[in-house]
């Protein structure tokens, strides 16, 4: 719509419609996580014992490694886009690396959840468990959604659909992936380290 209007005026759109749409979508996502984080901070401040007695402690070391893995996937995603912008090879390799690191992140998180459930931390065991699974679970679902989108983009990359001049989908995928990567360290510090 915007681009049609600009085209009618004989001008290029200043920002591609897809990019503007993704920016607005990410703004709503930021509000979503902002609300969850605010609720967590208020509930936690209102509780004297955090974590409550009898509840397991969160695995800081393993999640720290997992954080590094997710940050590395963000770098791989960035490199994939740089490759296609410059018309270099290795796009599929960088995208595959990103997807692999994303899978490893989700795998480790799934393992961590199974262990914590085994130790008695569930959504009903305490407010501590409820806020933990809500915050970390919401982020995990976002990573899963980003991974599905990434796999679609990877399949198209393998088909050779992206060129230096036309790779809009890849740029949008990168924006979403980097958002998901950027949110995680905030959650890690708030939920695990504080």
């Amino acid at each position: 719509m915007a681009s049609q209007g600009s085209a009618a005026l004989g001008r290029q759109p200043i920002v591609p419609s897809g990019v503007l749409g993704m920016v607005l979508f990410l703004a709503t996502e930021a509000m979503f996580f902002g609300g969850l984080i605010s609720a967590f901070v208020v509930l936690r401040a209102a509780t004297l014992d955090w974590p409550p007695l009898g509840q397991p402690r969160l695995p800081i070391g393993l999640t720290g490694i997992n954080t590094a893995i997710l940050l590395l996937s963000g770098y791989a995603m960035h490199r994939a886009v740089v490759c296609v912008r410059k018309g270099e090879a290795h796009l599929v390799a960088w995208l595959s690396g990103t997807a692999l690191l994303g899978c490893v992140f989700l795998g480790i998180q799934g393992y961590e959840w199974l262990e914590l459930i085994g130790f008695g931390l569930t959504t009903r065991s305490s407010l501590y468990g409820a806020t933990f699974y809500t915050l970390v679970g919401a982020h995990g679902l976002h990573v899963l959604a980003a991974l599905v989108v990434l796999l679609v983009v990877l399949a198209r990359g393998i088909q050779g659909r992206y060129t230096a001049a036309a790779h809009g989908e890849l740029e949008l995928c990168r924006m979403y992936w980097l958002f998901v990567v950027a949110v995680w360290p905030v959650l890690y510090v708030l939920v695990y380290l504080r």
Binding site: L20, M31, G35, S38, A39, V41, R44, A45
Partner: protein
């Protein structure tokens, strides 16, 4: 006859809404941080309220500045 019936139904609904507001007001008037009297809870409540007010304003302002700069860049190149 029909009009009078409809008026009565509307009045009944209106009084029902007023009654529910008056009786439910006690729940609405509850303090959002009364579950904890600690200073930390109050500070967290105020700081997160400020955060949730400033976040959308900051986002909209950032998008506005970004579009403005993109527009200026486009004008410079033409």
């Amino acid at each position: 006859m029909k009009e009078r019936f409809a008026t009565n139904v509307r009045m009944l609904l209106g009084w029902g809404v007023i009654w529910s507001i008056l009786t439910g007001a006690r729940v609405a008037a509850a303090c959002s941080v009364c579950f904890s009297a600690t200073d930390a809870a109050r500070e967290a409540y105020y700081s997160t309220t400020a955060f949730m007010i400033l976040l959308p304003i900051g986002l909209v302002a950032s998008i506005g500045v970004w579009l403005y700069r993109a527009s200026r860049r486009a004008d410079d190149t033409h």
